[in-house]
């Protein structure tokens, strides 16, 4: 006891005080910004059920009900194995693709005893195209179906309202259509979220792909979202130029040209389920 008092006195004399530690909470409201991942991970024991839809381009006219007649869907489930580690599985109707990912938060933005200005998260994902091979007569390999993504998510919550994130991303495709395309595609994304009121928020993201890596007619992915949070649900409505909802699609296979008005409407609905207790 006396020893503790001495240490306390010495620390106080040198101006060293034990401070509380504060972590930035909900830098983004959900684990996805719009299409891409955010720095957020699920809490331990929480399963997140995600249904996402992307429709055809809005300028397709009334006969296509402004794109609503054409829909792609992804159904996915994420699970927090630790507060800082999440795994997930999903299946997209677009190219009948299965995907899985693991996401680890290395560091949280914090203030107080230890200051750190950013939240840092790493993402690794794999996508498996299950469509029949386009050219069955040649020798095809299972590995040709695979695409891998490595992504680093760096975010800062600047205020209660504004968060910004950047996402250096590498997509590796085992098989590409033409020799002109790169198997490794480097891109860098940027995203934001702005809280409008207690329940509503705006979000957006843009992925810039470095030149000469993709085939003609592929565009950088951009999307603007509107989020509504209710008890246990987050609804995200968005306008963007990508039909796919995983990195493989929106980084390397975005076909719609926003400058021509080719914009897809879409939404994500997420629902959390507590499957396990935790220390509160």
């Amino acid at each position: 006891m006396i020893k503790r008092v001495y240490i306390g006195v010495i620390l106080t004399c040198f101006g060293i005080h034990a401070e509380a530690q504060y972590f930035a909470h909900k830098t983004f409201r959900d684990t996805r910004v719009v299409n891409g991942h955010s720095v957020e991970t699920n809490n331990e024991g929480v399963a997140k059920f995600i249904i996402s839809h992307r429709f055809g381009v809005i300028n397709s006219g009334l006969s296509e009900l402004f794109g609503l007649d054409q829909a792609t869907i992804r159904i996915g489930m994420d699970y927090g194995i630790k507060d800082w580690a999440t795994i997930g599985l999903g299946r997209s109707s677009f190219e009948k693709t299965l995907d899985g990912y693991a996401k680890v938060r290395f560091k949280r933005q914090s203030s107080g005893e230890m200051n750190f200005p950013l939240t840092l998260t790493g993402l690794g994902s794999i996508a498996l195209n299950t469509l029949p091979f386009q050219n069955p007569s040649r020798e095809n390999y299972f590995t040709s179906r695979l695409t891998f993504t490595s992504q680093f998510l760096i975010a800062r919550k600047f205020s209660d309202d504004l968060s910004i994130q950047i996402m250096p991303t590498l997509v590796h495709r085992n098989l590409v259509s033409t020799l002109k395309e790169s198997n490794d595609v480097f891109s860098c994304g940027a995203a934001f979220r702005y809280q409008l009121n207690r329940s509503w928020a705006l979000s957006g993201e843009y992925y810039y792909v470095l030149p000469d890596q993709l085939a003609e007619g592929r565009y950088n992915a951009a999307a603007l979202g509107f989020e509504v949070e209710t008890r246990g649900h987050v609804f995200q409505f968005q306008l963007g130029n990508s039909l796919g909802m995983i990195e493989k699609f929106f980084v390397t296979e975005t076909l719609a040209d926003i400058s021509k008005g080719d914009i897809h409407f879409g939404f994500n609905i997420t629902r959390d389920f507590k499957l396990k207790g935790r220390k509160y």
Partner: protein, 337 residues
């Protein structure tokens, strides 16, 4: 001469010694640390079945862990969580909550919570819970119906009700119940916890007084039954309960009460932080006829629903007075500007 001094000493000192000895006989017999249950037993009161006379330290540790964390480290490894949604301490403190434990006074309870920075919660503290003779009293029958009948008369049954209904968890296994009772026994009231005056101590030591009178005196010094009165929101929520709120006390209620569960990564999905937008949202919903209104949520709480078992228990009048709800409202309004 020596004889004279001896006689004088006897004459003058005997009454003094007699008075001192009588006024402290209770404490000499039992001491301030003597468990109240032991005193009651010596006066002829039956020891209840839930009471553990000599708590086993190992079981106490496990019981404490079950209560604060929802599961325990056992020789077989970590046990399963009792509830996915709550720990006992989400709603119960485990320490003294009031200076004067002989009456209900929510203002004094809040004073004590502010002074000691205690969570200001809906449920009764576990401190002294083994000394109660009834649980889930008063209006709790309105919420839980017949389930309360057994729980009202038995601490074990009330723990099971709490585990399964209130915390939406599972039935406790026998070893868990045993460990909890061992832990709760360490939180029992002691003689020194009662505010006994000198006269009352004399009364207890009065050989001519009946044991029943002594037991009645002890029972008047704490609440063997914690009353529970369900209250209603005001008829006109814009007007509220018609009292002026105290912003400072409202701040304490927000921080020690609301944010106990509605903190970041807390029990509730709904985070009530200190952002202006949060206060504006709360303020704008004050008059709403939904659970987003502080009046509705405090007085009615919510119920567990299929697919969303987490809910908020209501605050009874005893745990949060109308005045305190107004204090909270004034704080929210102040912070929303």
């Amino acid at each position: 001469m020596k004889s004279l001094i001896a006689i004088l000493l006897i004459v003058f000192l005997y009454p003094l010694l007699a008075w001192v000895s009588s006024s402290n006989s209770l404490f000499e017999a039992f001491g301030p640390e003597t468990p109240l249950m032991q005193v009651n037993a010596s006066l002829g009161l039956a020891i209840p079945s839930h009471y553990v006379n000599r708590a086993d330290p190992k079981k106490v540790r496990i019981g404490g862990q079950l209560i604060s964390e929802g599961r325990a480290d056992t020789p077989q490894g970590k046990s399963n969580y009792i509830s996915r949604f709550y720990a006992c301490t989400s709603c119960h403190n485990t320490v003294r909550e009031e200076e004067d434990i002989s009456k209900v006074d929510s203002e004094l309870r809040l004073d004590y919570a502010i002074e000691h920075q205690l969570p200001y919660l809906q449920a009764s503290t576990f401190w002294g819970i083994v000394n109660r003779v009834a649980w889930y009293n008063g209006d709790y029958i309105k919420k839980y119906g017949d389930l309360v009948i057994a729980a009202n008369k038995s601490l074990e049954e009330s723990i099971q009700l709490c585990a399964q209904e209130c915390s939406q968890g599972r039935e406790l296994e026998a070893w868990e119940m045993e460990a909890m009772l061992h832990y709760l026994a360490t939180l029992e009231l002691k003689v020194g916890d009662l505010a006994l005056s000198k006269e009352e101590i004399n009364q207890l030591n009065d050989g001519s007084a009946s044991n029943q009178n002594k037991l009645n005196l002890i029972a008047s010094k704490y609440l063997p039954r914690s009353p529970a009165t369900f209250a209603e929101p005001p008829n006109d929520k814009n007007r509220g309960y018609g009292m002026k709120g105290n912003v400072e006390r409202g701040k304490a209620i927000y921080e020690l009460g609301c944010q106990h569960c509605h903190k970041e990564d807390g029990v509730s999905d709904l985070v009530l932080d200190d952002a202006k937008k949060t206060f504006k949202w709360l303020r704008n919903n004050i008059s709403a006829d939904s659970q987003n209104s502080i009046y509705e949520i405090i007085r009615h709480g919510t119920y567990a629903e299929y697919g969303h078992r987490e809910y908020m228990p209501l605050y009874t009048q005893e745990k949060m007075s109308d005045q305190q709800v107004e204090d909270l409202r004034f704080y929210i309004q102040e912070m929303a500007y």
